[in-house]
Subunit: 199 residues, 2 copies
């Protein structure tokens, strides 16, 4: 069962590399060095580079789940839960201890014009995530926290725009106003959907 421990360590170091350098920057040599393991020792845990990438993406999703989804699920259903989720979503990577940005967001722009299993996996993760956003939004509407005729798909699409714009302005432009901008945009989106003003 020592294998499990080193695998955890590999995924941990791999996520650090991934969040900074992107999928194409996760190299067997680099990861082996970061995890203080020989390249071949590392390779025994993942039968190929592609398997490693898939495992890292899953680990990123798992990390996001514990840092974003789980806390949100403790809030009351409807708008409060949606609010907490968005609050935890924006900039979650830093709060989860990653040295770089959100690996999935980066993959969205890194793999957009390529084919293959890795791309498909990212697409599945992203669709899963958007389904969750839709579900929480629809709940908020069903509970009367948002206008019942709210266009849920459009709402989620706009929300993703806020996330991406926040990521770009916070991580790339390093604009200290990123948080404020995102909050204003989210408030405007909620207002447009008929939400009551925040407490």
């Amino acid at each position: 069962m020592k294998s499990q421990a080193t695998r955890v360590s590999l995924l941990h170091h791999g996520l650090n590399v991934l969040s900074v350098y992107g999928l194409s920057g996760v190299t067997l040599g680099r990861l082996a060095e970061a995890a203080r393991l020989s390249k071949s020792g590392l390779f025994a845990h993942f039968r190929s580079k592609e398997q490693l990438e898939l495992a890292l993406l899953d680990e990123a999703a798992r990390l996001a789940h514990t840092h974003v989804v789980e806390p949100a699920m403790e809030a009351p259903a409807g708008l409060p839960r949606l609010r907490v989720l968005v609050e935890r979503w924006l900039g979650w990577a830093s709060r989860a201890g990653l040295p770089g940005g959100c690996p999935v967001a980066a993959a969205l722009f890194e793999l957009d014009d390529r084919e293959g299993e890795v791309r498909d996996h990212v697409a599945a993760l992203e669709q899963e995530w958007r389904a969750l956003l839709r579900s929480l939004t629809a709940s908020a509407a069903a509970l009367g926290h948002l206008r019942p005729e709210t266009d849920v798909d459009q709402f989620v699409w706009d929300l993703c725009g806020i996330y991406l714009s926040h990521h770009a302005s916070a991580r790339f432009l390093r604009d200290p106003a990123a948080e404020t901008r995102a909050r204003h945009a989210f408030d405007a989106l909620l207002r447009r959907a008929g939400a009551a003003l925040p407490s």
Copy 2:
């Protein structure tokens, strides 16, 4: 003066590779093969890989200028010009003949956690672009097409979110509704800023 011609050819092929594979995917060997030139013949045109990357980014900006900014400048100042700009901006890369997505948007997520001249160059291009957006938005407000108290910075920030969300949903998710979603979001943004309904 034959050098100029091959340089143009190199930049052209380089942009194709860049838009699909990102900055890290632009490799001397790959580009040399695409341009039917020897690796060393190519290398003579750019004294280093970094110089090549900078030249490619500039070429991308030049291409965007002719395909996005110039057509917009022919529209009447104020809101009409802003509308044309946004119309031309979303999905401009495909319309400009690139096989992939917007190189700058991809670079925003590829280089966000790295340092160096290339990152600085992308940052400069992006700031320049956002300054243009701010300028056109402020003009629209000054001309009474938008509410005078419009928060220009927030408006531009939201606009960038629409662009990024459109890029992600159109290029990565390949959602055919991307155009509609972006149009709705932009209309809502304009309405919120007090614009008259579109013709």
